[in-house]
């Protein structure tokens, strides 16, 4: 007597592809939305190679070290710096009087720099960067 062999299913289950598609879409959407895209706009005046010294002396000068702030030569903790700069800028109405020259030492981390420049901008200050220009001197 011959026994009939049952036929095996060789076709892939097509109904599962929609589930796979859905899971892949969710995966790519999650991957795409992880990157941060929020932040803070900052207006900086165009750089001038030779700053006018007579104007600069009237402006507030802020020097940043790794974890401290020095305003016009006086070291200040972060909390009192915020209060002091608000008071200093309060009576200044013209944009050119509200300029705050920020000078950073080379070891200042970005997070500290952003904190302090944020405080200055919130107080109404206009930030300018004071950079040390590199000069090559040939020794004969």
């Amino acid at each position: 007597m011959k026994l009939k062999r049952t036929k095996l299913l060789v076709e892939p289950p097509a109904s599962a592809t929609s589930d796979i598609a859905f899971i892949l879409i969710v995966f790519f959407l999650v991957c795409a939305s992880v990157e941060p895209d929020q932040g803070r706009a900052q207006t900086l005046p165009r750089s001038e190679p030779e700053p006018k010294k007579d104007k600069q002396s009237q402006n507030i000068e802020v020097e940043l070290t790794r974890d401290a702030v020095i305003m016009n030569g006086n070291p200040l903790p972060k909390e009192s710096f915020a209060k002091t700069i608000i008071l200093k800028l309060a009576d200044k109405t013209r944009d050119e009087d509200r300029i705050v020259a920020v000078k950073s030492r080379k070891e200042v981390p970005y997070s500290h720099w952003m904190d302090i420049t944020g405080i200055i901008e919130d107080a109404g200050g206009v930030i300018t960067l004071q950079l040390e220009e590199e000069q090559t001197v040939q020794v004969q």
């Binding site: 929020q38 932040g39 900052q42 940043l64 950073s104 200042v108 970005y110």
Partner: protein
């Protein structure tokens, strides 16, 4: 005489789902590739009152190895200003946004020349930060 109504087949063609999945995959892969600085390693600094930039004309990243990238491509800081001028062209104000992504531990010796270059090229700087939930 009663005529039997023919039954209509209302099943969704499941075989087409595979093709739809494939096309969607290609779409998302291309979308992911367009954001071509996503492979760079950096952790943002924190901040408050953050806003999304209205436009994005160029992207500058300083990664955790202090390397500067313009639109995902490594560039020397000395040529950054010139390259940005080419990208920004004669765009009007409001369409010159340069987003700056700096690793939070990068020091001033690396990020200040980059900020200066963006300013020199006439870019409108927008720092990318992470919301500080503790403040």
């Amino acid at each position: 005489m009663i005529v039997k109504r023919r039954q209509m087949d209302a099943s969704v063609p499941a075989m087409a789902m595979g093709d739809i999945a494939f096309l969607l995959l290609i779409f998302f892969v291309i979308l992911a590739r367009a954001r071509d600085d996503s492979h760079l390693q950096w952790k943002p600094a924190t901040g408050v009152k953050l806003v999304r930039p209205a436009t994005m004309n160029a992207s500058v990243v300083i990664d955790k190895y202090n390397v500067t990238h313009l639109n995902g491509r490594e560039v020397p800081v000395s040529s950054l200003s010139e390259e940005l001028k080419v990208i920004l062209g004669e765009n009007a104000a409001g369409r010159r946004t340069v987003i700056l992504k700096v690793h939070h531990e990068v020091t001033a010796i690396y990020f200040e020349p980059v900020i200066e270059a963006i300013s020199e090229a006439g870019g409108e700087l927008h720092h990318i930060l992470e919301e500080d939930k503790q403040r």
